[in-house]
Symmetry: C2
Subunit: 312 residues, 2 copies
């Protein structure tokens, strides 16, 4: 019997990875709000630089998780992690029987909210290393990368995590199981913490230009993230900063997710990426003046956006 | 015999203070480039919230200092301190006989360039605490404050500095002689270093909003400036940060000079205010991670402006 999967938050990430799972033979349903009408009628059109073009027609297209009339093996949360999205509320009504919860989301220290809301569920934490954009309603363009990393958050999650990874691999994803998914989150934060805010605060520079102009500053920010990771008991390899710099040097000029959100007037993952890192540092007595500065500046930038939007 | 004064860089600051000197009876000429035609015909119209409205007709209106056919007692440089303005070149041809050089300019560590170019001249360093804008060609609106601080940079400058201060006072300026003008520059930098870049990097917030949202961050930046001042042998009073915060709290919401430059597409005094502070800190082995972050971010912001302007 094929696995039943409910994707909650089927934007670019959720739509793309849902489409991969469907290719593996799973029965994939989606909760998608903004493109509901279009996706219900036409499904998703996927255009991947590695896997080609195809149409993904979900088993059910829903406005909210509570409308799901089945019992999913996996509910996969793919929303952004921002203040005005209630992650627990989004998924609660979509859970039944032994549904395991997985999330493919950015940020550090984002597990506790779900662990405490659903103490009896299997929880799997996931990270996507991908560049894919929603270019029109229901149309997703996969531009680069695509690796997934999953890790068990609850003691009983390892087997289910492995099985989910196998499904993704069968659908064409490069999928890896991490034995320390919390370290993997810090590892991803090493890149996100400098490049996401710098791309916004610079007024829209691509990663290449940032690196060429301010490599020392980028390295210093990365080191601060490494120090928090170590203090939190999840030390990263000694060459982490060098590898991130080298990798970025050989990436094509790239607009970060935060910059894309900024340019489209969408909320940014400032708290998930920077706020949580700064709060962890404070809890652990790690000095992170540069991360604090970036966080304060992003807060000011967001305040200005709100002021600009409010009627004068 | 009335004093002869040549103002070089007669924008808002130069025009306003030149007008005050003319009120004191001095014979004031100006070098002004962008508004040359208008000012030559009509002079300046000054509209001051404390001193009223009047017209200031300079003795000579010149395109460049070399056109001055007299021997000034004082040449007062009022240009901005930015990379594409050659301060030495701007004034060299306007000097004759015993002309003393004064400058009313922002920034720290901006003295050396003039001291080494003109080793035999009397040099007076000045700071303006004023909010005044050029609202149209030759029209200057004085909105708030206005205090000047002068100090001698060369051993023989004290008497001439005092006399210049007296002239300004006679013209209606609140003018003070500083016994340590280098400390006064650091003192002003305590305010400029946070509020100027934060107003730009936030996308245009006024000082009030910055302070209300990120007071701790502002204080930390101010403390870094105080530490550089101390290390450079010009310690500031212990209550400097508190006083600056209190003063800002009671200011009307205020757009910084850097924000005004940014909004009008003019070069910003990033190097004079932040770059020089960071370089002084490095020379003196003072840790200033927040100033470094602001400097790096302003450099990125300026890079983005240049990229945006360049043909694609």
């Amino acid at each position: 019997m094929s696995s039943k999967i409910l994707i909650v938050g089927a934007g670019a990430i959720g739509g793309f990875y849902g489409a991969l799972l469907a290719r593996s033979g799973a029965e994939v349903s989606v909760v998608c709000r903004s493109d509901y009408d279009y996706v219900r009628r036409h499904g998703f059109e996927i255009d991947s630089h590695t896997l080609g073009r195809w149409r993904f027609r979900p088993a059910q297209v829903l406005r909210q998780a509570g409308d799901y009339r089945d019992c999913a093996d996996y509910l996969i949360l793919c929303s952004k992690v921002v203040a005005d999205i209630d992650r627990v509320g989004l998924i609660r009504e979509g859970l039944a029987g032994k549904t395991a919860i997985a999330f493919i989301q950015n940020g550090v220290d984002i597990e506790a909210e779900l662990l405490s809301a659903f103490p009896d569920r299997v929880l799997i934490s996931g990270l996507a290393y991908i560049c894919c954009n929603r270019v029109a309603p229901g149309r997703i363009k996969h531009l680069a990368y695509g690796k997934l990393t999953f890790g068990a958050l609850t003691p009983d999650a390892a087997g289910l995590g492995q099985r989910l990874g196998d499904l993704f691999a069968a659908g064409g994803a490069d999928c890896e199981i991490s034995r320390d998914i919390v370290a993997s989150r810090w590892q991803k934060c090493v890149w996100n913490a400098p490049f996401n805010p710098l791309s916004v605060l610079s007024g829209g520079l691509a990663t290449q230009a940032i690196l060429q102009s301010q490599e020392d500053f980028v390295r210093d920010i990365m080191q601060e993230v490494c120090r928090i990771a170590s203090a939190s008991g999840h030390p990263l390899p000694g060459d982490t900063v060098d590898l991130n710099i080298e990798r970025t040097r050989h990436m094509p000029p790239y607009k970060t997710s935060m910059l894309l959100d900024f340019e489209h007037g969408r909320p940014m993952e400032t708290e998930a990426i920077l706020g949580n890192a700064v709060r962890a540092a404070q809890r652990l007595n790690v000095e992170t003046p540069r991360l604090q500065a970036l966080y304060a500046l992003m807060r000011l930038r967001e305040l200005q956006i709100r002021e600009n939007r409010a009627p004068q």
